[in-house]
Each structure stands twice: as C-alpha cells, then as structure tokens.
C-alpha cells in the first residue's frame, strides 16, 4: 500500500479534480437558472424599471436566500476557473501561490460586499 498521510500526503495530481470539476458544473447551472429568474422578473414588470421595481425584486426573503446561494456559487465557480488559469500558465510555485492568495482574497472581499448590500435591503 502506498503511503499517503503526514508529510507524504499528496495534495496535487490525480484524484483532486472530481469535486471541483463537478462543483464548477453545478454552480454554473445554478447561476444560469438564477439569470433566467431575474430576467423573468425584470421582463414581466409592466413599464419602466425604476428603483422600486428593481430593489423590490431583491427585497423578499426567498429572493435574498437564492441570491445569497448564487453569490457563494459564483465564488466557488470563479475560484476553480482562476485556479485553472494560474495552473496552466504560471509554473513557478511561489508566483502561483501569491496569485492564488490574491484570487481568494479578491473573491472573498467581493462576496462579503455583495452579501452586505443584499442584507441592507
């Protein structure tokens, strides 16, 4: 049996793809459905979209819950995508680590801001 614990634990290479691959697809489908949901609500409002109609869409509890889920989905989806980009083009490990940290901080900060906006309503 191969040793795969402690300092010999493998954290790159094979068997580390399936979860993220599937998560990217699932989050993509969720976000596509959310787009349709918001689009439907926007297109089915009579007349011009003013502040009341627009913010009204996001003021109900169920819409806030769904939007919150989509925000988290976007973060995971974008993380997998950007991690793939860094992985494909940046070979030096130190540079790639810095870029991955930047990506995570960027995404988490954006998500925090978006959630804050959503719950101010």
């Amino acid at each position: 049996m191969s040793v795969n614990y402690g300092s010999k634990r493998i954290v790159v290479g094979a068997h580390y793809g399936l979860r993220d691959w599937l998560a990217q697809r699932v989050t993509a489908a969720l976000m596509a459905l959310f787009t349709l949901l918001v689009l439907a609500q926007v297109l089915l409002t009579k007349g011009d979209i003013g502040y009341d109609k627009w913010s009204g869409i996001f003021s109900s509890q169920w819409m806030k819950a769904i939007t919150f889920t989509v925000i988290l989905s976007l973060a995971y989806h974008a993380w997998v995508g950007m991690r793939d980009i860094w992985m494909d083009y940046i070979q030096p490990v130190a540079v790639r680590l810095v870029l991955q940290i930047f990506t995570l901080v960027w995404l988490i900060a954006c998500m925090g801001w978006a959630i804050q906006v959503l719950w101010r309503l």
Binding site: W54, A78, G81, W106, C110, W113, V117, R120
Partner: protein, 143 residues
Amino acid sequence: MTEIAKKRPVFRNINALKDLPTYRLPVAGWVSILHRVSGAVMFLLLPLIIWFFDVSVTSEISFSRFSSVFQVGVGFIPAWFVKLVVLGLIWSYLHHLCAGIRHLYMDTHHAVDKSFGHQSAVVTLAVSLGLTVILGAKLFGLY
C-alpha cells in the same frame, strides 16, 4: 536503466510568439479561449459589477446616481467609456454563458463528434454576438 540519465529536451513553449500569429485556430478553439478570457475579464471587473449592484439597489438617491453614471459619467470617466466597459461585460457574460451551456451539453452527452463541435461553436458565437449587438444597441440608446 543507463548510468547517466539521458539529457531530454525541455520545451518551454517559447514558440508561442511565433505560433500564435500564424496558427489558424478552428472556430471551436476560438470559442474555448474566449470562454477563458471572458471568465477572467468578469473576475477582474467583479468589484465594478458589485458596485453597480450596490449603487442600484441601496436607495432612490443612489439609484439615480447609478443612472447618471451612464449619462454623464463618474469622476473623470466619461459616460461613453462606462458604456463601453459595460458592453464588454455584457459580451463576456453572454459568451461565457453560451460557451458554458455548450460545455454542459458536451458533458452530459457522451456521444459528441467533431462536426458537433464545429456547429455548436458557430451557434455559440452567433447567439452570444447577436445578443451582445441587441443589448449593446439598447445600452447605447439606439432603440
């Protein structure tokens, strides 16, 4: 195993500058690389997107500020530049969405052949660019 390990050639892909302008990428290849580019563009402009959401949804006053950004600009940035950036975002989202749906279709139908790859790539470009033109015309006030 030989005593001395044979010196194998190292390929660092530095022919990219020679290959990229000369290699003819098939349509499916364009859709693919633009899928990646559009994703990266949206990632970089994410704070702007969230700022738009913030300003548009917070209050009546901030909503009118949101509208004015598209009419008179913000700070030293003119309105037409804002609209141009938003057009880029619209294209990025539409292309990423259409190419993504194409990906999901290919993931769920295991019998996908080369001609499907070509046809679906053409459809992806047609739909995404077409919708971009339609929404862009609305954005720039053409109708």
